[in-house]
Amino acid sequence: MKLKYILPILFTALFTVSCSSDDDTDPIINEVEGLFKIQELTNDTHTVELFNTAGEFETGYNEISIRIKDIVTNDYVENASISWMPMMQMPTMQHSCPKSVIYKGAGKKTVYTGFIVYQMTNPDGSGWTLKVDYTIDGVDYSAISDIVVTQSEYQNVSSFMGADGQRYIVAMEGPTDFKIGNNNLKIGLFKMETMFSFPVVEAYKLTLDPRMPGMGNHSSPNNTDLTFNMADKRYEGNLSLTMTGYWVLNLKLFDANDELLKGENVTEEHPKSSLYLELEF
């Protein structure tokens, strides 16, 4: 009879104790949770780990997380400053691609983030190398390796010559998931100043006309022009998608003086702009 009352009390006590004891130790947080490792670049002192959500590089916009591990201590470095240089080896020349500076991720201790826009690749994914330069406590290090960049199924990046004689690259940067409804479309626009310099172009404008070629080039309403967002350094606008499936985003690029640099209106005779991106969801 007594046991009946004592047992629950005992159990309650046990659980209460076991719960509270957790608070004493420092929890180990996995800072790359949800990400997959793409590759490691190794030198004599460190291993540079590269992550993203897909676990591989694809043509187009790649958001990349970086972690540097000390080979000796096996600890992750928390005070590095990092830069990088992706390079494509062509038969007669080399060129790089648009890339961001690298910051430590918000609220992270060991993970640094940035992005690279690969505008093309070889059919077998070869040709690109990635060099990561970093400084820890005033000492410079560098790691370099060949990387594999696979071709995306859909055109999410486009490199072209504008009417002003300049080469530009547009790349779809977001959202990561499309939905039926209104989507906040983010597009990066870069100018190819030299083979190795691709700065962000500010204050231009992109007009948007999404179409479904599979549905007689059906369009959707309520799309807005993409304008430059100073904070995010990219162009943003509303993309409305009425159904799932394959969509072509027909674009026109205008410079700061509203001069058309690339792209045409979609008409029955001209079903697709020469400047476009694709998506499927």
Binding site: I180, G181, N182, M215, H218, T242, M243, T244, G245, E280
Partner: protein
């Protein structure tokens, strides 16, 4: 709700507070405009005689008030006072049930069969608001009453064959009736190939096949209380829609109800009937039988409804009061998947009805007050709360493309009020009535997403911000009888405010390949619909009689355009010969030229037509069992014609010979 009931009752009674005189006799159902009785389908009737195995659609079409809009030979859409589905309230024995097809290919009349029903009660305009809110009227498909006849076991077999379309029908009915318990089971099967229009022109994709089963049982708990249960299962497969680009591979309904009835002869409350019900519909539209389509697609839809009603009828000294408290919860979901011709592209998907939940609860009260033997005043009121909710986040987001500011729910308060004054004298009777009613937009009108309408060739987008549609109506009806002569006039006028109809939005791009553009549901500030019917009959002798009806309809919107689906001048004339065991009827039926067609809403001019039908019937006795034979020829002259109510002008049936045989075993 209780408070509301008390308030309503108070209102009604205060209107007739001088009601202390002695009660005078009053004819029942004087305000119910028409009833089509199906129970007599195995009897010989001599007025617009029907086949024993005619479908519900056929029966409804015999009513003056109702026209059936046809997209093929199956699942016709009823239209009353020149208004269809959204503006009507169609119920099965007071139960709300909603079709699951975004293209109105499954009016709920297609989910029951004659074998399930006892009668169809039709209320024009606000007199049809007993079960829900309506503008054009209400159609209630009524199930049979409890049958404690002590008649024992009875069976009947029905067989039918029609030459046009090789249409075969078979039905079996089994009934047991004791004094405390009854049981009824019936099954009916229908199958038709493509029918031929006049001059032997085969109408492709007009075939159908369906069966319907129903089980009904009741138990008498005591003298006053009865419990009934009903299950109806209806399944149509391989239904072609020649007027549309898609067919239906499955239309399936399960309709269930449990009813408790309390009856008393002495108390103030004469009867109290309460019902709990559930029905579920699955509708699968596909185009796999069509050889040539711009894109393959599947469009399934689902509609589930849970509901209840509780209705009481009460008697005061001169009053006849009925109350009806009802509510339902419906879930409508439909989707569309399209398969691109380029096999590398993945299928395209959208919700065409993005999981819309409708919650309704309301109360209806009606009082008939008899001033004296020949004048009656009746008044009815319905007030209800109506809520729509977009349950799917995707659905809300997809509609926010068009209406960025909308939320997921929308509440409405709906009301309806009507009064009818009636005089009955020896040689004439007349009634005047007026009413006001409101309705909420239907799921398609409020929330449809790229619904293709092949009639005007536009994609339609729903509009959740629509205001309630409102109508003021006046009706007049008079009859004069003298010896063997009868003359009647019936007319209605509707002034509809915020009349919901699609309007072209040039800025939108059609989704359906080949469509002319996109229409968004919008409202005309007002529209008016008028109809008048004149009918007369003359009896030459007890056996021979003639009757005729002439009708005129008019419909116009505030944009000065004709409304679509307004019936042109119509006429029916019939010569009847009836003996107790034999009858014959020769019928001429036709429409005038549709000169006031609505090109603005996609109609073209339909020329007039007239057809001749001959119906015959015999009643025989075979081994003490009854045999009813009905046979005849429809469209004797094999005319190739279509009417204003035929979707995309598909031609109606050419000459058709039919034979229906009913064998009733006692």
């Amino acid at each position: 709700m209780k408070k509301l009931i008390i308030v309503l009752m108070g209102l009604l009674f205060s209107g007739f507070s001088f009601a202390q005189e002695e009660r005078s006799t009053m004819e029942k159902d004087t305000t119910k405009l028409e009833e089509i009785t199906l129970v007599g389908r195995r009897k010989l009737s001599n007025y617009r005689q029907e086949k024993t195995l005619a479908s519900i659609d056929d029966y409804l079409e015999k009513s003056n008030k109702i026209t059936m809009i046809k997209r093929g030979s199956y699942a016709w859409e009823p239209s009353m006072n020149n208004m269809n589905s959204e503006r009507l309230n169609v119920t099965i024995d007071g139960m709300q049930i909603f079709g699951a097809c975004t293209d109105k290919m499954d009016p709920i009349t297609s989910y029951v069969d004659v074998s399930n029903l006892q009668k169809v009660s039709i209320g024009s305009g606000q007199s049809g608001s007993e079960n829900g809110h309506t503008i054009g009227g209400g159609i209630d498909l009524q199930l049979p009453n409890s049958k404690f006849h002590q008649s024992g076991l009875r069976a009947s077999v029905d067989l039918g064959y029609e030459t046009n379309g090789n249409y075969k029908t078979g039905g079996l009915d089994l009934e047991y009736s004791g004094n405390k318990f009854y049981f009824n089971a019936d099954v009916i099967f229908r199958k038709s190939d493509n029918y031929d229009a006049g001059k032997n022109k085969e109408v492709l994709y007009s075939q159908f096949q369906k069966y319907n089963m129903s089980l009904r049982s009741g138990y008498k708990l005591n003298d006053r209380n009865t419990l009934d249960a009903t299950v109806i299962y209806d399944k149509a497969t391989d239904v072609g829609y020649p007027a549309l680009t898609m067919d239906v591979s499955l239309a399936e309904a399960l309709i269930t109800a449990v009813t408790h009835t309390y009856k008393s002869n002495s108390d103030f409350v004469e009867s109290l009937e309460s019902k709990l019900y559930f029905n579920t519909i699955t509708h699968v539209m596909d185009d796999s039988n069509r050889p040539d389509v711009p894109i393959r697609m599947d469009m399934p839809g689902w509609s589930d409804t849970y509901g209840f009603y509780s209705k009481a009828s009460m008697k005061g000294s001169k009053h006849d009061l009925s109350l009806n408290f009802n509510g339902f919860y419906n879930r409508s979901l439909a989707e569309m998947t399209m398969y691109p011709n380029d096999p590398n592209q993945s299928a395209m998907f959208m919700y065409t009805w993005p999981d819309i939940r409708t919650l309704y609860s309301g109360i209806y009260a009606k009082d008939d007050y008899a001033f004296n033997d020949h004048t009656t005043l009746s008044a009815a009121l319905r007030i209800g709360f109506h809520q729509n909710e977009i349950a799917k986040e995707t659905g809300l987001e997809s509609l926010q493309i068009f209406y960025p500011e909308i939320g997921s729910t929308k509440n409405r308060l709906l009301s309806s009020i009507t009064a009818n004054y009636q005089i009955k004298k020896e040689h004439y009777d007349a009634s005047f009535s007026g009413g006001y009613g409101e309705r909420a937009p239907s799921v398609s009108e409020g929330y449809g997403f790229f619904l293709f309408n092949s009639f005007d060739n536009y994609d339609y987008i729903g509009n959740p911000t629509l205001a309630n549609e409102k109508a003021v109506e006046v009706n007049f009806k008079a009859n004069y009888h003298e010896h063997s002569f009868h003359l009647g006039l019936e007319t209605s006028y509707f002034y509809i405010m915020d009349y919901i109809i699609g309007s072209i939005d040039e800025s939108l791009s059609a989704m359906t390949i080949g469509a002319d553009g996109v229409k968004v549901y919008d409202a005309l500030s007002h529209a008016q619909i008028f109809n008048v019917y004149l009918n007369s009959s003359y009896k030459f002798s007890n056996a021979l009689s003639v009757n005729a009806t002439l009708g005129y309809n008019y419909g116009n919107g505030s944009n000065n355009e004709n409304l679509p689906f307004i019936k042109p001048i119509s006429y029916v004339a019939e010569l009847n010969y009836a003996l107790p065991k034999f009858n014959a009827a020769l019928q001429l039926e036709g429409n005038g030229n549709q000169s006031r067609y609505s090109s603005f809403y996609g109609e073209d001019e339909t020329s007039g037509y007239g057809i001749l039908n001959l119906n015959l019937g015999n009643e025989l006795t075979l081994n003490a069992n009854k045999v009813v034979l009905k046979y005849g020829i429809e469209n004797i002259l094999d005319k190739n014609y279509s009417t204003y109510a035929d979707w995309n002008n598909i031609s109606r049936q050419g000459r058709n010979c039919y034979l229906n045989l009913s064998y009733v075993i006692h």
